[in-house]
Symmetry: C2
Subunit: 230 residues, 2 copies
């Protein structure tokens, strides 16, 4: 497998390039608009063909490259069936798979950070978007976020994966690049909540400022990051 | 194997934590002083015992955590025999190995960026310090840097490794986290130089500003990042 974790320093976003083999089909998860040239160059250098660009959810902190990549490479752009982004060419649902060559990622519906949040699972690793972060979880106070739903996504789905499953989130702000399910179970402070109500109280008490780019990013991402006529 | 790539955003430095197994001995490559607490906490959470902290060379762009980690964890601190850091507890040379439990890293002497630059090799990956960067190479214009020596380190040693060897450098400024030897051979612009003289001319013509922290970092790193009496 070809696997590349790519970091956007401005928004602390991790994007992930995956392919089964050199020269084969490629998948890009959570690409950032400003890095489109970097992705396209890397994909060319690796001799890959980008067939699918996917967002785990509608991001509020950066503008997606889904539209730009579709324009540049003719790839499909995909988000979950719950998304309000009308521009995507594919809508997936839990139980389906994202496929490039013989690489198949299982799709999990993991709402809570937003109501259109999905995670993608390979046998040894999971891409958790903003649902499960390293030593944190995604905020649940906008875009139909729901702390109780996030608790169920975490404890009912992600944390039931094997403990050595690698966790690759959509962001990290502290220089960490990867974790494991077991490590997060034991050391993620938010996952130490006694029960669902304690988790909901914790999340609803955070009182966070809105993301700096939210008023720009959310409308832009509903059109896959492409400018629309006013 | 436990493997963690850690990023220092201020200096764009990658540090690497390695261990053979949970609960075992750990090795830390190129740790940054400001992140000492992060390393110590992560090592504790993973149940590891830090036995060795290593710098690939005397860095000019950040202060090392070698001394702080020795104070905090009683680990050994190691650099190559060519180093001017008098404070290290272990000096290694090419042909020797860095060992934690049954994980053995081969030591390669790869001067050029500095005269004390070393690389560390596992069967599937190499830690290249500032000798080989992703789509770049370390500057050779201070600390006894030598472009001709770097050419020999690159073409005579690192680029002779199997093409699928993963390349983990000490820095990246463009959001890349890893490359391979084959990819760098083909797509690293500096490695397209026609011969040694062309490489030397290219490197000597760069006219780079000194690193912002150079006047602080180099003296500090000669004492392993620990403050010394004036």
């Amino acid at each position: 497998m070809i696997f590349r974790q790519l970091f956007d320093r401005e928004s602390s976003t991790y994007s992930y390039l995956l392919a089964e083999r050199p020269g084969g089909e490629a998948l890009l998860i959570d690409p950032v608009l400003e890095n489109t040239n970097t992705y396209v160059r890397l994909i060319e250098e690796l001799g890959l063909e980008l067939v699918l660009a996917v967002d785990t959810h509608i991001h509020a902190d950066h503008v997606t490259a889904l539209g730009a990549l579709r324009d540049r490479t003719d790839c499909a752009s995909a988000m979950g069936e719950m998304t309000k982004a009308e521009c995507v060419s594919v809508r997936f649902r839990e139980g389906e798979k994202l496929c490039v060559d013989n690489l198949h990622l299982d799709i999990l519906y993991t709402p809570g950070h937003t109501d259109d949040s999905y995670s993608f699972l390979l046998p040894d690793r999971v891409f958790t978007g903003d649902t499960l972060l390293i030593r944190g979880t995604g905020r649940t106070d906008f875009q139909n976020g729901d702390a109780a739903a996030q608790y169920d996504s975490l404890f009912g789905k992600l944390l039931t994966l094997p403990e050595d499953t690698l966790v690759f989130p959509a962001h990290d702000y502290n220089g960490m690049t990867v974790s494991t399910i077991g490590e997060e179970k034991r050391h993620n402070p938010r996952l130490q909540a006694a029960d669902k109500q304690a988790y909901v109280d914790l999340m609803n008490g955070l009182k966070l400022d809105d993301p700096r780019l939210m008023d720009v990013a959310v409308p832009a991402n509903r059109s896959c990051g492409l400018k629309t006529a006013a």
